[in-house]
């Protein structure tokens, strides 16, 4: 009895303190405060309307690989590249960098001055670090989702950026053209672009278009291996070198390597490029399809034509070394024509 009385008294004083019996009213007020503060933050974010560029004369304009019209008001001095290969291309065009992604060091093993900052990984660049460098031009790839997402914010904060898509040599050449236009260094376009093109054309001119070895191109990684075809950079080189990719006859190889199909076609050469940890990838290949006893009977394997290709020339974009890639393969395929 007594405890019930006490409870009643407590409740009454609760009423006084809380000023209202309705808990809902309190949460309602809190909610309104929360919404209002969100709105305040939202509006602050909106305040940054970029001023429309008054001048009609730009330093340079071009169209990027997503079809955006890029207008640079001045020559960019503080450039950040979110792709390692584009960082190299920019340097080859005579430009300077203030920020790069870590694949520059980890994959390309480029040596950059200490002042160049690492701003994250190619997959997850750190937006805050990028903005903190006060860049005036950013190089992005349209194939990486985080880049596309970041571009929205870059647009809002009025930082110029451009998307580049480089898969084959002509893409690199086009990008180098634009970049050297921006840096104003057209001799570098000749040296790192046109001369490489000449190098490639020289290689291709020596090839007999009717001598077509069959090849299989495999991309191996630690959890599997797949054949590759035309859209791959190395396969394009092989195509240009007048080989026939057996994957173009059997598209299923692009999904899964089948020892029966490979035996049926018995290619003259088998080329392998590894992704990720090379050691693990090659081991996986050995434990996978290469374990099959029929593997050792393949012409390519028997005649020492199962070749692991260097990553720098056939997996990462070789950029100015593209000509070397052509020469490397040409020497293997047609040793009598190329010493």
């Amino acid at each position: 009895m007594i405890e019930v009385e006490k409870f009643k008294k407590d409740e009454l004083s609760m009423d006084v303190i809380l000023k209202t019996r309705k808990l809902k009213k309190i949460s309602g007020i809190i909610l309104i405060l929360v919404i209002v503060s969100f709105f305040a933050l939202f509006i602050t974010g909106c305040k940054s309307q970029q001023e429309a560029s008054a001048s009609s004369r730009y330093y340079y304009s071009f169209t990027d690989s997503l079809g955006n019209q890029i207008h640079l008001e001045e020559k960019p001095q503080r450039v950040v590249s979110l792709v390692g290969s584009y960082a190299e291309t920019w340097l080859l065009a005579g430009g300077e960098l203030i920020g790069v992604t870590d694949d520059v060091i980890k994959e390309r093993k480029m040596h950059l001055p200490k002042e160049v900052q690492i701003i994250g990984t190619i997959k997850e660049p750190n937006l805050e670090e990028i903005i903190n460098l006060s860049p005036d031009f950013i190089l992005l790839s349209p194939d990486i989702e985080s880049h596309v997402k970041i571009s929205e914010t870059l647009k809002k904060s009025n930082i110029n950026f451009a998307f580049f898509k480089v898969e084959h040599f002509e893409d690199y050449l086009a990008m180098l053209d634009i970049c050297t236009d921006i840096t104003g260094n057209k001799e570098l376009y000749k040296k790192n672009g046109l001369e490489v093109k000449k190098q490639i054309e020289e290689v291709l001119s020596k090839i007999d278009k009717n001598d077509n070895p069959d090849i299989l191109f495999i991309r191996a990684f630690s959890t599997g291996a797949k054949a590759k075809n035309d859209d791959n950079m190395a396969c394009r080189i092989l195509n240009d070198l007048a080989t026939v990719n057996i994957a173009s006859k059997h598209e299923s190889l692009l999904e899964e390597l089948s020892i029966e199909l490979i035996i049926e076609e018995d290619p003259d050469y088998i080329f392998v490029v590894t992704m990720g940890d090379s050691q693990k990838a090659l081991e996986a290949l050995k434990d996978g399809i290469a374990k099959n006893p029929a593997w050792n009977d393949l012409t390519a394997v028997k005649n020492d034509r199962f070749i692991v290709l260097p990553k720098e020339l056939f997996h990462y974009k070789p950029n100015a070394k593209w000509g070397e890639s052509y020469e490397y393969l040409a020497k293997i395929l047609y040793p009598d024509k190329f010493k």
């Binding site: 009895m1 405890e3 019930v4 409870f7 019996r21 309705k22 809902k24």
Partner: protein, 255 residues
């Protein structure tokens, strides 16, 4: 007054009870008895609108039961299921849930609701547990809290599915006495009981079911005399009468 007319009902398209016609009188206690699976709970749930019948109508105060809105109906009849989870809630809050049909849009209990809850808890002698969590209580006390919730719901008709099963004997009898009090308040009680003696000694009317049909629906005395219990359950029933006003008791032996 609640009536079932030609009710056929069941689960998953399987008929359990067929062509049931029965009316439950006001201010009375009706107990439904029968063997397991005979359809007692199905009948109870259909009458309480917990289960929708395949065929037939349930008539409440001369209206089809489906013509009432959920809230309206909740103020007229209440149902206590047999198996209940033990929620993590205080006695006070559970009894307050009985006032749910009466709460407005904001779902905030008014002074009247609080008074009713308070009074109900005290009537059930649960005052000292008022802020305790339910599963600190014994089975019998818990049951009393649920009945308090039903009381707070303030309905004329109360349906109870095996309210005494699994309780200690003293709690069983306590609950049954409370049910008698509910009848005195003018409420109509319809319940399913397993214990035949309890059923016969506490009810005004007995509804004996077998294989989905009503075998006999009459006073305990008449049901006993008809020997239908003996036939359905295959037992030999006997009645004990006392000299003073104590209610009759019933014993059952194997045939």
């Amino acid at each position: 007054m609640i009536k079932l007319k030609n009710i056929t009902a069941g689960y998953n398209n399987v008929e359990v009870i067929k062509n049931i016609n029965i009316a439950f009188e006001e201010a009375s206690i009706t107990t439904i008895i029968g063997k397991n699976g005979c359809g007692k709970t199905t009948l109870l749930k259909t009458a309480a609108n917990i289960l929708k019948a395949f065929k037939g109508e349930v008539i409440l105060k001369d209206r089809n039961i489906s013509s009432f809105s959920n809230k309206e109906l909740a103020k007229k009849l209440s149902f206590l299921p047999q198996i209940r989870k033990v929620p993590n809630i205080t006695v006070y809050n559970l009894v307050m849930h009985g006032r749910y049909p009466y709460l407005d849009f904001l779902r905030v209990p008014q002074q009247k609701d609080k008074e009713i809850v308070q009074k109900t808890i005290e009537d059930m002698a649960l005052g000292k547990y008022i802020n305790k969590n339910i599963y600190e209580l014994s089975g019998g006390q818990r049951q009393k809290v649920y009945i308090a919730m039903l009381l707070a719901q303030d309905t004329d008709i109360i349906f109870l599915d095996e309210p005494t099963t699994y309780l200690d004997i003293n709690h069983q009898l306590e609950i049954l006495e409370i049910i008698k009090r509910l009848k005195k308040m003018g409420k109509t009680i319809v319940m399913v009981l397993h214990d035949l003696n309890n059923a016969l000694s506490y009810s005004d009317k007995i509804c004996l079911m077998d294989k989905g049909e009503i075998v006999i629906y009459d006073s305990p005395e008449k049901v006993f005399e008809s020997r239908e219990i003996d036939r359905v359950f295959k037992v030999y029933s006997s009645q004990i009468t006392f000299e003073d006003e104590m209610p009759k008791q019933y014993l059952f032996n194997l045939k």
